[in-house]
């Protein structure tokens, strides 16, 4: 039998201050880079504007392409290489183009398309993808994305409060909220494009991280039921150690699938895969170092007493009364 990290007894929670410092530092870097340059690389779907993916028959110089566009009055368009040096994405998101898009979202795309065939000749350039979005659509999408995120928080918190107890739900919520911040910091630092697909990736990260927290909390719930004479601090550590082999295995298979996406699924899906890859790490990290210590802190602040706590929580019913509020400090 091949076993990894079996029967470990690592005092994970002991390092929580270091861990919090680390993650706070990471979020701070993200925040700092946001303060220095507040521009977030949001996709056309959200800002409105025009995006075109074009493919040339021969390699093309970006500078020349840019000057052609500038001359045609499409100012400030962002040009990015997309895979090979024959493929580029052109983004026109400036206010002027957005205004033009209000009168018909496609007009800028038409102008760029005509310009390119004019400059490079018909048959030398092919438009692989066009996205043109009026500003109103973008606003609606932003609103819907925020609603989706908040609502998913709400429903999962309510579910956990019912299945576990409000303390667990709150701790899981804070851990997941932490993941949102670190993921956003990661997106900012990596300068990834925030598209609908990336929003979906963030929500998947939330789900994945929540999964991980639930697996550990499930163990805590079960261990509490056994009524061992130990503090919550010890129970938490035990639960983390007990679920460690599972964590390693599941993260390995998920990471394998994510890496397959990152390297083989092509350019369009890459930002999604990057966010997922980071999400596996931050999700694992927060399940241990954010959810755990937060639970201890909540437990200390609002100690559980038999019969008082709300919800049909099984954990509360069976938790030993003699245990004093968790002692997180050592």
């Amino acid at each position: 039998m091949l076993r990894i990290l079996h029967d470990t007894n690592i005092d994970f929670i002991r390092w929580w201050k270091w861990a919090v410092g680390l993650t706070a530092g990471f979020i701070a870097i993200g925040l700092l880079s946001f303060l220095i340059n507040p521009r977030i690389n949001t996709s056309i779907e959200f800002t409105g504007g025009t995006m075109m993916q074009v493919e040339f028959a021969k390699p093309v110089d970006v500078g020349a392409l840019r000057s052609h566009l500038d001359k045609a009055g499409i100012l400030g368009a962002e040009i990015q290489q997309f895979g090979t040096n024959r493929e580029y994405t052109i983004r026109a998101q400036e206010a002027e183009q957005r205004g033009a898009a209000t009168n018909g979202a496609e007009s800028v795309a038409k102008r760029i398309g005509n310009l390119l065939t004019q400059q490079y000749g018909a048959g030398q350039v092919r438009v692989a993808r066009t996205e043109a979005v009026g500003p109103r659509v973008g606003d609606e999408l932003t609103r819907d994305a925020i609603i989706a995120m908040l609502l998913s928080f709400l429903v999962t918190t309510v579910y956990l409060a019912i299945r576990f107890e409000w303390r667990f739900a709150l701790a899981a919520l804070i851990a997941t909220g932490h993941d949102v911040f670190t993921t956003l910091a990661f997106i900012k630092i990596m300068h990834l494009e925030v598209s609908l697909t990336v929003i979906a990736a963030i929500l998947t990260v939330i789900g994945y991280s929540l999964n991980d927290t639930i697996i550990i909390f499930d163990r805590v719930r079960e261990d509490l039921r056994k009524g061992r004479k130990e503090s919550l601090y010890q129970t938490l550590n035990r639960a983390i150690n007990e679920t460690l082999p599972r964590s390693v295995l599941t993260h390995a298979t998920t990471l394998a699938a994510t890496l397959a996406l990152l390297f083989f699924a092509g350019e369009v899906i890459r930002p999604f895969a990057w966010v997922m890859a980071f999400g596996i790490f931050t999700g694992t990290f927060s399940s241990i170092y954010i959810a755990g210590p937060t639970l201890l802190w909540i437990e200390r602040k609002w100690p559980r007493k038999i019969g008082i706590s709300k919800g049909s929580s099984t954990a509360t019913r069976t938790s030993p009364t003699r245990r004093s509020p968790a002692t997180a400090t050592r």
Binding site: E96, E131, G134, I199
Partner: protein, 558 residues
């Protein structure tokens, strides 16, 4: 449940999934050899690919209120929807989708379209056809002094406000708009509403402040016809949009531009017509239109009125013998107005100038489908080339296969025999998920495909949880049979809770997501359900089969 029923249920699930995925006959519009479209039965796997995977075009249309308020938008949109649907049906796309989204949007999806601009024009063209007689009373000449005065008035008011204008423009961020506005206010005061795409030509215009209106136009050959230099078009259009000039225009007449420019003494000129405002007939009574080529006039669209229209047309044209009749489509005069030789019956034709047969057939199409009751603007366009879509599919499949290989490797090395059971479960997981997607008629999008690949990695989590539990129970010295039972029992709460919370997130995504993200949420939901069924039920049954066939003392390879 006894083992026998479990096995039967699994076989039933496999058969049902197989049936859901089995290639079947579907009625579809397919391209015929001569480029037309017809309904035909096609045999294919019933998994629909989204536009981003098969290539095509997605359009969101909204009521355009820039040219006037629309009272009942929802009602206008309903009528527009019918017209758009008729046009799209005739346009020739396999499996088009035209539907209303919310109260203010029409969604048009055209899979596999290879000429997006043409499609857009067909959808958006108002196709409002009018026949108007050109003015023969020299109404414009008579009105010219008034028009010149009006233009002078505008120039004066703009000149006084010109001092304040640069302050506004200074706050405008992009250099493009600033340049445009300063050029307008200094050189050509009245043209501040000129369109941005004419910015380049603006500087070429002779300063019209002194000449006013009359300087910009030149008398043409037929009554009511004038020539305007291409470069002056923006200026004259902006004059025409001002209330002062509109008030000075001859009453009962309208000004319309020709559709094409023509070369005259090294300069491009556009024709401008003064027409009787009341049309002698509109396209309302039109019953048929078809493209054709004529040796003298190039491409034409021949049309036919119904009986009532024919009568009306004959009647009106007989009153206007020797007059010139402009055929006005969407406020543009098509071709040169022909002279009416004798009363025209129910047939007529529109000359297309230099445009090709395709343009003629598109025009015929929109004329047949009727005019749009309200102008539509495009709020959103997504167009994906067919090859890019195909590329995404093949790359997605590659990534999926590699993900499966890696996961299989990890599970086999780590759990050996039990890992093999998990892999059998994984194969069924893939089958069930695809079947569920096909069964619900879900559309497979690129994010959906990515989500599916990702779910292959996550799907084994339930197995991992169970196997680790079994290992723990075995370590406690329990027998294989008890360890398996206990392992499944103890892992259950974790599996249920984690999957349900993910399913809740997916449900929220489905509710608030649009297009591709919705596809992603559906894939996620199908995946969660399939993974729970395989891990809890199928793999459990595999264990039961194995246990029933072997001696209880046998060691479990896990």
């Amino acid at each position: 449940m006894t083992l026998k029923y479990r096995i039967l249920l699994i076989i039933g699930l496999i058969l049902a999934s197989g049936a859901a995925l089995f290639p079947r006959n579907v009625k579809e519009r397919v391209k015929t050899a001569n480029g037309g479209f017809k309904y035909d039965t096609v045999r294919r796997v019933p998994l629909k690919r989204g536009l981003d995977l098969q290539g095509g075009m997605h359009l969101a249309l909204e009521v355009d209120e820039s040219k006037g308020h629309v009272a009942d938008k929802s009602e206008a949109l309903d009528r527009a929807l019918k017209v758009v649907r008729t046009r799209i049906d005739q346009f020739g796309v396999s499996e088009p989708l035209v539907q209303k989204s919310g109260n203010d949007r029409i969604i048009v999806e055209l899979p596999g379209i290879d000429d997006p601009q043409r499609a857009q024009e067909v959808v958006q063209k108002s196709a409002f056809l009018q026949f108007q007689i050109t003015d023969k009373t020299q109404a414009l000449e008579k009105a010219l002094p008034r028009l010149d005065a009006a233009v002078k008035g505008i120039a004066a008011t703009v000149a006084t406000t010109a001092g304040t204008k640069p302050v506004d423009t200074a706050t405008q961020g992009t250099p493009g708009t600033t340049g445009l506005f300063t050029a307008d206010t200094t050189k050509k005061p009245a043209a501040d509403s000129a369109k941005s795409d004419s910015a380049k030509t603006d500087t070429a215009i002779a300063t019209p402040t002194t000449g006013g209106f009359s300087k910009l136009i030149q008398q043409g050959q037929m009554p009511g016809e004038y020539f305007v230099a291409d470069a002056d078009i923006p200026a004259i259009q902006s004059y025409l949009s001002t209330p002062a000039v509109q008030a000075a225009l001859p009453p009962g007449k309208v000004i319309r531009f020709g559709s094409d420019s023509s070369q005259l003494a090294n300069k491009l000129y556009r024709t401008m017509y003064v027409l009787d405002a009341k049309p002698i007939i509109t396209g309302e009574n039109l019953v048929d239109a078809k493209p054709n080529t004529s040796p003298t006039e190039g491409t034409i669209v021949e049309f036919q009125f119904n009986n009532e229209g024919g009568r009306k047309f004959r009647n009106e044209t007989s009153k206007h013998i020797k007059d010139f009749m402009a055929i006005v489509l969407d406020d543009r005069v098509m071709g040169r107005p022909p002279v009416i030789q004798s009363a025209i019956g129910s047939r007529g034709q529109i000359t297309m100038g230099g445009r090709d047969l395709q343009a003629a057939s598109d025009l015929a199409l929109v004329l047949r489908a009727g005019s749009l009751p309200t102008p539509l603007k495009i709020a959103e366009v997504r167009q994906i080339g067919a090859s890019l879509g195909q590329d995404s599919v093949s790359k997605g499949i590659t990534a999926g296969l590699i993900a499966i290989l890696l996961v299989v490797g990890i599970m086999l090395v780590y759990y050996r025999f039990s890992g093999m059971l998990a892999i059998l479960g994984l194969i069924l997981y893939i089958l069930f998920t695809l079947a569920a997607l096909a069964g619900f008629g879900a559309v497979l999008t690129l994010p959906g495909l990515a989500g599916f690949v990702l779910s292959i990695g996550i799907a084994v989590d339930a197995n991992v949880l169970i196997f680790e539990r079994i290992r723990e129970e075995l370590a406690h010295g329990k027998t294989v049979r008890t360890a398996v039972d206990e392992g499944f029992r103890h892992a259950m709460s974790a599996i249920v809770d984690s999957n349900v919370s993910t399913a809740l997130t997916a449900a929220v995504l489905y509710q608030y997501g649009t297009g591709p993200v919705r596809g992603f949420a559906v894939t996620l939901l199908a995946g969660i359900a399939a993974s729970m069924v395989t891990a809890i039920f199928v793999v459990r049954t595999f264990y039961m089969i194995w246990l029933s066939r072997s001696q209880s003392t046998q060691a479990l390879s896990i």
